[in-house]
């Protein structure tokens, strides 16, 4: 396919005697596809041609998305692990069915065909990988603790809550999926800031999510500029954690400083997401809290069980 620009597609359509219908790239908040409330746009450019008019999210969009994520969090975390697994698997199914579209779009955003196709396949497989973890990580990371008193004591993982995710800039689909999947697997909800320079895959992925039984608000996707939004999400008091991929150190420092205002958990990744080891349950654990529960065990003499 090669890169298709608006101008070229107009030319192509001339050949076929048909004007191509261009897609409006909107955001994804609370299960709906709104434009930014600010009505602003930007034009990401790849290989000197514009990818189109993309929403430039505002502070208000961030706040709306966090409200949606918070509202969805209790319900999503109360789903059974089995149900979350099935929904993650369903996302993979939907992505598989549209793999050509994602591959074409990755090529438009500057990847070569071979890389684009392999990243789509790996994204599908990654979703299936984490679908499998939904009802297993708890058994790997939980513990029954042998306290030195007559109590039953156990520690389990609980989702941290609302996670703001800054998606990979250079790995627009696989990087995105590789963070969203472990974040939501345990019952967190998230607001994702798509790659600023390659935002198309994230927007199209929202269409996959919208048709995959993912409850509204569990994943919210914004497009825009991190420089403009960094303060708004890292200072937001209803965000519990931040996941950042591949940012430069100055930006990370600023985000972490803002995040200290309500003790947000900040996780920084510099991953090659095409590496298999970049997928592991420790990423799920990164966005979980350990909860320890105590309860007395009644001690009645001569009531010990025996064979």
């Amino acid at each position: 396919m090669g890169e298709i620009t608006v101008e070229e597609s107009n030319k192509n359509s001339g050949k076929n005697d048909r004007l191509e219908v261009l897609k409006t790239y909107k955001m994804y908040i609370d299960g709906k596809f709104p434009r930014t409330e600010s009505a602003r746009y930007y034009q990401p450019v790849v290989n000197e041609s514009s990818l189109g008019n993309v929403c430039l999210a505002s502070r208000k969009d961030v706040r709306n998305a966090v409200v949606a994520a918070r509202s969805a969090q209790a319900g999503w975390s109360r789903r059974t692990a089995y149900n979350r697994a099935q929904i993650l698997y369903r996302i993979a199914e939907m992505l598989e069915g549209r793999s050509q579209q994602f591959s074409d779009e990755l090529v438009r955003q500057g990847l070569d065909v071979e890389t684009a196709e392999s990243q789509v396949s790996e994204s599908i497989d990654r979703l299936i990988y984490y679908a499998g973890w939904c009802d297993k990580y708890q058994q790997v990371f939980s513990a029954v603790n042998p306290v030195a008193s007559s109590h039953f004591n156990f520690s389990t993982l609980e989702p941290v809550g609302v996670v703001f995710t800054v998606a990979s800039r250079d790995c627009p689909l696989l990087g995105l999926v590789s963070l969203i999947a472990p974040v939501i697997a345990s019952g967190n909800t998230c607001v994702v800031l798509a790659s600023e320079k390659c935002p198309l895959s994230a927007v199209t992925f929202a269409e996959v999510l919208a048709t995959s039984d993912v409850p509204e608000g569990v994943v919210n996707i914004l497009t825009g500029r991190i420089e403009e939004l960094k303060e708004h999400f890292s200072r937001h008091l209803d965000v519990n954690a931040i996941a950042c991929d591949g940012l430069e150190s100055g930006l990370i420092t600023e985000i972490k400083e803002f995040a200290s205002e309500n003790i947000k958990r900040v996780k920084i990744y510099h991953q090659d997401w095409s590496n298999e080891s970049a997928a592991n349950p420790y990423l799920i654990q990164d966005f979980c809290e350990v909860k320890t529960t105590w309860h007395p065990i009644e001690q009645i003499s001569e009531s010990g069980a025996s064979y």
């Binding site: 004591n153 520690s155 400083e257 350990v290």
Partner: protein, 482 residues
């Protein structure tokens, strides 16, 4: 109504303060030796129940912090990180045993220096400190079993800053997992309670640890800040206020330092109408008056189901009337001295605020000693969710009582706080317990019990109560690259 039963007055049973050894002046512990810096800056460590000066403590300068970090780095590089886990573990086992051998001395000094009842130092602080060392000693050669599919590696030099409410216990909580995982330590105890950390340093010396594996620098907050900001510190572990925790998180934002924070709390202790009320009353008292309420996980917000409110409060007041407030060295004492004059002023200010905000105030009319810092067990009923005494951490023996009717209501109220360290629930119904414990946003949840700690049991908070866990398998990851 409530009245003091004079027949219950017990004869004094003071623990002897003989057979303890305290120096007049303590230097800092660096590279296996006590050093007295040339600048000679010192401050007194005061017994809060008598005002008597127990010893002079060194106010460390940047110089001493530098030396301590350098000693820790040298010990890490040359010896400790290379030593086999089995050997590391044996050092910790040895330390645990020696602490048990000297448990009485440590308990007496802890109560003299911090004001907590000797019964608590003797039965809680010191045995638990030894148990922590013993527990983590055993992990040292088993780390690869803790993290499936990973090869864990130590971080390097850990800077550890601990509070004044459980001085020795917090030192053990910090040192044990750090050393077991192959890190070396620079520890700073709180300025009002440095003595048992310095005594622990003597024990580390006596146990023959390689010099520099543990270093202790003493002083005020600026010494802690120098540790946090030191370039050669790889990990910061802090227990203390949420306010300082935020400053630390911000200070290290531009570095690759790892961090765990165990901060404040405002725990909800929830009693349902089907609870065993007498047991619940004991749990409430233990939850808020244990250690004078100087406990980050104290059950400082009590939620009582409306139908049993009057009965429970009456029983609670009666029980409060039997609490013995006074000499920490007396084995009958339930509530000891407030840790410092400054903390007493904070608590008294909150009590004034509670009265002004319209909550109903109650204190038993027990006698207080003439000198020292004291606060009677305090109860506020008719507290509103928006009252400051229901929102802010007081860190004293002050309980704020609210009522509720439904589970949905109490969950909402209990979780409506920036904190999330601990919580309690009292009910006889199993399914209700699981409903409550799974919905409460807190790192430690006690059901039909309160304020229990164990080295095998992870401890730490949600939300603004900090991050990371101490204790158990989960406490290891705070000191490892995995």
């Amino acid at each position: 109504m409530t009245q003091k039963n004079n027949n219950w007055n017990l004869s004094p049973a003071p623990e002897s303060t003989g057979h303890i050894s305290l120096k007049k002046h303590y230097g800092v512990f660096i590279a296996g030796e006590f050093r007295t810096p040339e600048h000679g800056n010192r401050f007194p460590s005061v017994n809060p129940s008598t005002g008597e000066v127990l010893a002079e403590i060194t106010e460390s300068s940047l110089e001493e912090v530098d030396q301590a970090v350098a000693a820790a780095r040298a010990a890490y590089t040359a010896e400790w990180s290379k030593m086999g886990g089995k050997e590391r573990g044996k050092y910790l086992y040895r330390l645990a045993r020696m602490l048990q051998e000297k448990s009485r001395e440590f308990a007496v000094i802890e109560s003299l220096d911090g004001g907590k009842p000797i019964r608590e130092s003797r039965d809680v602080d010191v045995p638990l400190a030894a148990a922590h060392l013993f527990y983590y000693a055993g992990w040292a050669d088993k780390l690869s079993y803790a993290f499936p599919n990973r090869i864990p590696r130590p971080l390097g030099v850990a800077g550890q800053i601990i509070p004044w409410n459980f001085p020795l216990l917090m030192a053990a909580w910090k040192i044990a997992p750090a050393l077991a995982t192959g890190n070396t330590v620079v520890l700073k105890p709180a300025e009002t309670t440095s003595l048992t950390a310095l005594k622990l340093a003597e024990l580390i010396q006596e146990a023959g640890f390689p010099p520099g594996v543990v270093n202790v620098v003493t002083g005020h907050g600026n010494v802690g800040a120098s540790i946090v900001n030191h370039d050669d510190v790889d990990k910061v572990a802090f227990t203390g206020s949420t306010e300082v925790g935020k400053m630390i998180q911000k200070a290290i934002a531009g570095t690759s330092k790892r961090c765990t924070l165990e901060l404040g709390g405002k725990a909800a202790n929830i009693v349902f109408d089907d609870a065993a009320v007498d047991q619940a009353v004991e749990g409430i008292v233990n939850g808020i008056y244990f250690n004078q309420g100087h406990v980050c996980c104290a059950g400082s917000r009590l939620f009582v189901q409306e139908s049993i409110h009057d009965e429970l409060i009456e029983k609670l007041k009666r029980r409060m009337g039997t609490l013995i407030v006074g000499d920490p060295m007396d084995k009958n004492t339930d509530v000891g001295a407030i840790n410092s004059q400054q903390q007493l002023a904070t608590i008294e200010q909150y009590i004034e605020v509670g009265k002004q905000e319209g909550a109903e105030f109650y204190q038993p009319d027990c006698e207080l000693p003439k000198v020292g810092f004291w606060c009677r067990p305090t109860l506020f009923t008719d507290v509103a969710q928006s009252n400051r005494i229901a929102q802010e951490e007081i860190f004293g023996p002050v309980l704020a009582v609210q009522t509720f009717r439904t589970i949905a209501e109490v969950i909402k109220k209990a979780n409506n706080t920036p904190y999330g360290l601990s919580a309690g629930v009292w009910t006889d119904k199993g399914s209700k317990i699981f409903n409550m414990t799974s919905q409460m946003k807190a790192g430690v949840v006690w059901a039909n019990t309160y304020n229990l700690f164990d080295p095998t049991s992870p401890f730490g908070g949600f939300k603004e109560s900090g991050f990371g866990r101490e204790g158990g398998l989960h406490g290891l990851s705070a000191y490892l690259e995995i």
